[in-house]
Amino acid sequence: MSARDNILGRIRTALGRSAPLSDKQSLAMRGKLRDHPRGPLPSMGWEPIPRFKERCVMLSSTVDEATHLGDVPSAVARYLRTRDLPQRGVCWPEFSALDWQSAGLQMAARPAMGDDKVGLSGSYCAIAETGTLMLLSGQNTHGTTSLLPDTHIAIVQTSRIVRSMEDAFDLLRKEHGHLPRQVAFVSGPSRTADIEMTLVLGIHGPYRVHIILVGS
């Protein structure tokens, strides 16, 4: 007998059954897996975009707005200069064609390494309820961009702001049908309170998260 068989056997004994559930018995649970019904949601009587901005600020992220994607390089340059941050970094390949040079920036389209200081990513979608970015792993959506650099800048299309995590998973099911290797929900800069319960930003992930809303 394998560990697997022993464990499943003991589970069945504990549940007062001698065999696996028959197809008929497991119907309710199979139906649940197929239909994945939602649990109870809290009231969400707010407008998604203002709520998203408000929540980002509560999480210690900063928020800026740009009308078009083409305005992003100058917004990024402004953000970095006012904080005296390096004028170079890495970005997702989908943003490599933006005119970084005119804004005085050097952005390399590659995954981040341990010593890159600025990472610029997009976001699959964003969640208004909690001020959260939903990032998917993939060929061109590097996770390290939003993880290793001290400063993470995220471009969020306002049309891609959904209300809840449930809505975000619905969107993913509709558009992709399956999960990528990793789905990361990111809510503000990395933080810890492990020394005397005192909150400190920037333990292993970014110290700063700056969100640029595009299309507002």
Binding site: S2, P42, E166, A184, H204
Partner: protein, 471 residues
């Protein structure tokens, strides 16, 4: 982890006298308790969500075999390798075998309570593998050779001065006392380890049957690194961690992060499904999931099953008047506080944790705040009954209880006894109305406090007198 629950009374007494511990634990009340109370108000249907979470967890346990097989099927289809371990030793051995086969020299670890249960770090180190805890609290614990005292804040019992001394010694840098600077120093020290580790080990807050996904909740970002940067990732999870769908995880997370740290959401929620895909730029080549029993099936078949609903938020200990005063170490194993008083006897044997079910005032704060409505005081009471039945309590205590039962079933005897005790107590209390030393077994109780003396009349006498006055 070594089980020291039998030393509960001695260690609790010792901790009660510690001024540093008292100071460290005061943060718990002022931050976590208040934080939770404030943030649950964001949910106007908090109680409905709690009730639904309880139901979903119960349903999952009731269909556990089906969900685990479903999980295994979907995880395997996504390229993960699923292993099963009956106990801690098997789990440790599986991890070591995976590491050896992949020529792993260095492991980075994201927090796992199951790893604490099995003493995984020690086992891997014995096997010649370097292991780095990366959660700041766990890192402090590992570097100081200590054990965690809280399931969310492992180093909650440490003051910043202690951490300053530790970092000064281990990091070989000038001593810092500012908490922000100390935290950033730990970042600098740990960063190279993330980049050079061959294997990452994480726990799992939940397994998702529908998709074969394992997910973790962290604030620091170490969990994302552990599951992304090294070439091998091993996730370890108890059998009870499985939930049917992503929707179930989504709504239960609203309770988990609020109950745990008073946050509307934790910074990083990481859902991992399989290893690196052919087109992916990043991710581990190998992804292993080890599903572990280690005493859980025994609990599933017992009257303590409801404890398996636990989602490891720590709210019960944060709100426990006993935990608030003695911290986590006296509980003597991985899980402290009320949930520990149930899980420790359940996993390691009631005879090895004799005092834990009694380390409670039965105030039910834990039951009130538990996000999945585990009736913790009821479960502790059941364990107390078992202790008496199995003759695990001292004979004098059992004799006393038997005498009380005998008297309580005989109203005449009982009321005469109560009268005698009330009169005697009043006399012993003297003019101050305080009894300094109780006789017999009561002496232990009055060793550290006085007992307020009774007024000299029993309740029934006063009740009768009152009725007579009214008539």
């Amino acid at each position: 982890m070594q089980i020291r629950s039998a030393e509960f009374k001695t260690r609790a007494t010792e901790k009660l006298g510690s001024a540093t511990l008292f100071r460290a634990l005061s943060n718990l009340r002022s931050r976590l308790v208040v934080g939770r109370a404030n943030v649950i108000r964001e949910l106007d249907n908090f109680e409905d969500i709690r009730e639904a979470a309880k139901r979903v967890r119960d349903d999952a346990l009731e269909n556990l075999d089906f969900l685990l097989e479903e999980f295994e099927r979907n995880a395997t289809a996504n390229g993960a390798k699923v292993h099963w371990a009956e106990n801690s030793q098997e789990m440790n051995q599986l991890v070591l075998d995976i590491a050896r086969k992949a020529n792993v020299r260095k492991v980075i670890k994201s927090k796992s309570m199951l790893g604490e249960e099995s003493g995984l770090n020690h086992f891997l180190e014995q096997g010649g593998i370097e292991v780095r805890e990366t959660d700041l609290g766990e890192y402090i614990i590992q570097e100081s050779g200590d054990v965690p005292s809280h399931i969310i804040g492992p180093a909650i019992h440490r003051t910043k001065e202690e951490v300053a001394d530790l970092f000064h010694e281990k990091h070989n840098r000038p001593r810092k006392t500012d908490i922000t600077e100390m935290t950033w120093e730990a970042r600098e020290i740990l960063r190279p380890h993330f980049l050079t580790a061959d294997m990452g080990i994480s726990g799992a807050n939940f397994l998702v049957a529908e998709t074969g996904t394992s997910m973790i909740v962290t604030n620091e970002g170490n969990g994302r690194m552990t599951t992304t940067l090294p070439r091998v990732h091993v996730a370890i999870a108890g059998i009870e961690k499985v939930l049917p769908t992503l929707e179930d995880v989504s709504f239960i997370l609203r309770l988990l992060t609020r109950s745990a740290t008073g946050q509307s959401i934790s910074n990083y929620l990481t859902f991992t499904t399989g290893p690196k895909r052919p087109d992916d730029a990043e991710g581990p080549e190998e992804f292993h999931i080890i599903i572990v029993d280690s005493g859980r099936t025994r609990v599933l078949g017992s009257e303590l099953r409801e404890a398996l609903r636990c989602i490891r938020c720590g709210a019960c200990m944060n709100h426990c008047p006993v935990y608030q005063n003695i911290g986590g170490h006296p509980y003597g194993w991985v899980y402290p506080g009320p949930i520990g008083s149930v899980l420790t006897p359940a996993y390691v044997g009631l005879e090895n944790a004799i005092d834990l079910p009694n380390a409670a005032t039965m105030c039910n704060q834990c039951g009130v705040v538990c996000p999945v409505k585990i009736p913790l005081p009821d479960l502790m009471r059941k364990l107390r009954e078992r202790q008496v039945e199995q003759k695990l309590r001292p004979w004098a205590e059992r004799l006393g209880l038997r005498m009380w039962v005998w008297a309580a079933a005989r109203p005449g005897v009982y009321s005469r006894g109560a009268k005698l005790a009330a009169r005697l107590g009043r006399w012993m209390g003297g003019r101050e109305g305080l009894i300094h030393t109780l006789p017999g077994a009561g002496a232990a109780w009055t060793r550290e406090r006085d007992m307020p003396a009774p007024s000299g009349k029993t309740f029934l006498e006063m009740y009768a007198a009152r009725r007579a006055r009214r008539a």
